[in-house]
Symmetry: C2
């Protein structure tokens, strides 16, 4: 059987392009309008996407007012409530929500994702993040974000508690025997009795084991700690490579770590972000990109770059190369990626800021055939197992990709033409973890 692409759709925010909502065809409220989001998700389900994915943040983003007021994503639905509503309107597509380990309680996180998994008949996924944003810390009683090492240590314990709670129920705990009046077998539900550095959680969970055993586990992040945690624990890894070379290097590193951790590397799917501009001709595809980028207001450029780098660049000399960036507690992934880009292409700060003005992620541009060629090359040369698609606008970005690129991928046998049924783990080709209670 041919190797096939795994395709996720990045939907929160509805687009990462700074100017998405200004596109002539865009519904500017698309990020916060349930009927519009529902229609887009159904379109993705018709195109047989593996899953939709919702990023998250826990504050109004900390950028200067001049840039912030241009953001079409200042208001967003909370991910688990939105995915639960979408679960009721869809049948096959996976539903992956970001959940932080920094400001939630593991008992509540285990419970909510289990609930989404049952509501969707086994289509839930949990993207684990450690929240670094300082503005978020202020919303949870802290003076600053936790340090990088502490965030990852806490995340590791959080994950252990959550999965332990899911595994505290046997899959066959419920008897529901009207005759005897016995609803469940008490031997099949065990407390966790976890006592650790950050959490003390007795259990058991007040909801049955998820349909999938565990919802699909996703992770992003480029730091050493994040790669290691992904290699040991994740089913899906989101990357942010902008070139096939960096993608291959990341792919090899994470898969090697997975093997060293005793895992089957095929059970860990690596999906770099990818924003596609596609049209009948290459020239038209580039014109589409130009239309979008021309809609970005100059006030958005420097703050966007500051966000990517985790430092305020407004004092930098715009016409000189990027100065040395101090190591900060910012997520390492973006920072590393943007410093590398500036060095690789010898960009000034002003030029680099302009690159940050769109979505700042990897792009493929061309005809359906040209885009499919690139995706095929990435897949077959071990740069990825698929992509996390990011759409440049709504609905155009969604329509273009599903109507032009997906059929071409399907024609080449690189992507499914229908769902086989079953859970999200079944769709992606992931094993179902066993319970720790027989």
């Amino acid at each position: 059987m041919n190797k096939k692409l795994c395709l996720g759709a990045f939907m929160r925010p509805i687009s990462l392009h700074t100017a998405w909502w200004r596109h002539p065809n865009a519904a500017p409220q698309a990020n916060f309008d349930f009927p519009i989001i529902k229609d887009l998700v159904r379109k993705l389900e018709d195109a047989c996407f593996d899953a939709v994915f919702l990023a998250d943040h826990l504050a109004v983003m900390n950028m200067p007012t001049n840039a912030l007021k241009r953001s079409g994503t200042i208001t967003s639905f909370e991910p688990l409530t939105l995915l639960s509503a979408l679960a009721a309107c869809t049948t096959n597509i996976g539903l992956i929500a970001t959940g932080t380990t920094s400001y939630e309680e593991p008992y509540l996180t285990a419970r909510r994702f289990a609930s989404l998994d049952h509501l969707s008949s086994g289509r839930a996924g949990w993207n684990i993040v450690t929240t670094v944003n300082t503005e978020a810390a202020y919303n949870f009683g802290l003076e600053s974000a936790r340090l990088h090492a502490e965030r990852y240590e806490r995340a590791g314990e959080f994950f252990k508690v959550v999965t332990g709670l899911w595994d505290g129920w046997a899959d066959d705990a419920l008897l529901m025997d009207k005759e005897s009046g016995i609803f469940f077998d008490p031997e099949k539900i065990k407390p966790l009795n976890h006592k650790g550095k950050y959490f003390s959680v007795k259990g058991p969970l007040n909801i049955a084991r998820p349909v999938q055993g565990w919802p699909v586990i996703a992770l992003a992040g480029a730091s050493d700690a994040a790669r290691q945690m992904a290699a040991e624990s994740a089913d899906l890894v989101f990357g942010n490579a902008r070139t096939i070379e960096t993608a291959r290097s990341f792919y090899k590193d994470v898969k090697t770590r997975a093997i060293a951790a005793g895992r089957n590397p095929d059970h860990l799917k690596i999906l770099p972000a990818n924003q596609v501009y596609v049209a009948a001709t290459r020239e038209e595809a580039y014109r589409k990109k130009q239309v979008m980028d021309d809609l970005v207001h100059v006030d958005s450029n420097l703050p966007n770059l500051s966000l990517k780098l985790g430092v305020d660049v407004s004092g930098f000399d715009l016409d000189k190369p990027l100065p040395d960036i101090p190591e900060t507690e910012q997520s390492k992934g973006h920072q590393r990626e943007w410093i590398a880009l500036a060095q690789r292409e010898g960009l000034t700060v002003r030029e680099l800021a302009k690159r940050a003005a769109g979505s700042g992620i990897g792009e493929m541009i061309g005809t359906p055939s040209e885009v499919a060629d690139q995706m095929e090359e990435w897949l077959l040369t071990e740069a990825c197992d698929g992509f996390m698609m990011v759409f440049h606008s709504a609905p155009d970005g969604y329509d273009d990709f599903t109507s032009m690129v997906v059929p071409e991928l399907q024609r080449r046998g690189l992507f499914r033409t229908r769902y086989e049924g079953g859970t999200l783990r079944d769709t992606i080709g992931l094993p179902r973890p066993d319970s720790r209670v027989d």
Copy 2:
């Protein structure tokens, strides 16, 4: 215009009757089966109910295994995920979820209820509880539940933070002006900058002000602190009166407190719990009750009573009157109610335990006309503004009430025959709070 009933439907658990799932017609999985729950909610919407209501708990209930294993509600959906899914399948009915102030973060609670309110076009409600259960405390790193006074002090500050976050956005903050590229007016979104005893929250919230301004605020609880908080802050008050006299006394007390707090007492609706057995003849209605109560296993009686009283009754002399119950940190409502019942009717512990074996709440039994007579009397003599209906089984309890009692109430002009449209506040007749940002 006639005074009309406000009707809520208690749906989590799907029934409070210990034996609900053993009824011959019951689907024993009804409490944990989304398609079944969806059908029941649509039935309630067809009957023009104001809202469905989900109680909650944060642990597998602490009762002896012999009783627990007979519980048809050991596994349940998490309330906000379930209501979000239901929001996508309904149009008019209100969606009220319980949310604790003891183990959640106010920023996250404010955000989730705002999200549900937007997803449902203004049909969300928040039932505020302080969690007392000791088993729940063990799931959140505590050695015991917090003390009663501390729980209410914390709840008060929690409520202040949540409503302050909702009010930090003007209703017209979003501009979405494609031409200028300005998405929102930064003057219309203000930080909260709350620093209190329990919480420090900067804000603003990362979601627009709820459609209803504030989701409908509900409260239960019979203690002095709970009544006062309800009188000052609630739109809906859930009571647990088993007789019309105690209902009137509670009604008068809470409405008097509301007036003293400067509120219009009509803007606070008091809904006692009510479980109805209805049939074409009174004898048949009583037979229905008998069928249900006969299905309760004796092992469930004493643990049920222990839960109601907040003390372990297994050592009590079963054939003597109830001894003095020590003041505990248990919720005061149930405890007070059950002590009063034992005293009023001179019951032994054994007899009292048998009463706890069904649902242990107020009941009305008879023909549709007899039940409507009682409901009308309660409404017109200021014992209530409506009822929180609790169904003895699923689907029979739901079918009986919607097909027999609702039409009779509608014939008498005591209940709406169609929704007028609009938000849950509009449906119930509650004002919309103003934002604190112009």
